[in-house]
Symmetry: C2
Subunit: 124 residues, 2 copies
């Protein structure tokens, strides 16, 4: 296990920051994970447990979990998840269950950059 990330990662660190105003329509979470190439299996197992929680929450629409083709990519795993509304997204990130999941010890070695977006342009 990597020992380079010793600072505690909180549930807030695992939640995309809000903007000045809540988004009016659907939102997309883009969450990038730092995972060493030899730790893919451990990451995948933890992510599977956490995603099972999110998929069952009201307002969840879809997700795509991506793995980089190049091992030198800084954030080798990226989850792109669509929610019906920012309110639904926030509700799913405000529960004790969410907090317990993302503060599980195994997550400490996988820092992430969660950010929330609106779709500006969609083609195809």
């Amino acid at each position: 296990m990597s020992d380079q990330h010793t600072t505690e990662i909180t549930a807030e660190d695992r939640t995309a920051p809000a903007g000045a105003a809540e988004a009016a329509g659907p939102v997309t979470l883009i969450n990038s994970f730092h995972v060493a190439p030899d730790r893919d299996q451990a990451f995948r197992e933890l992510w599977g447990i956490t995603s099972t929680y999110f998929i069952a929450r009201p307002g969840f629409v879809s997700l795509r979990l991506h793995r980089a083709v190049n091992d030198d990519t800084a954030y080798r795993w990226v989850n792109v998840a669509v929610w019906e509304s920012e309110a639904a997204f926030r509700a799913a990130h405000g529960t004790a269950e969410f907090r317990a999941l993302v503060t599980a010890p195994g997550w400490a070695e996988f820092p992430s950059l969660p950010a929330l977006f609106e779709v500006d342009t969609a083609i195809g």
Copy 2:
């Protein structure tokens, strides 16, 4: 215009690095752009010109251009684009037209982090 990025950004910098082996199936480009909040319009115009090129290339499947809800997000604009194959993706990034588009002077103030991915899990 920002003057903080004075290093030349090359066409190679604008192209997601390849992995050890070419992906067998469809690939997804996730390209994150650093854009100051007051430069959205200039970015959007340049991106529109460049995306018109990509949309017309063989093997292009779809794209979603995302804008962050929070202005403090490091990379406020993120394009997620699907291609039929890595070969088609590489071909579109190997032309003189691509090189001319992304080395246009206006792009210099918008550094980007292009990375290529395969979909590991798709739900919904």
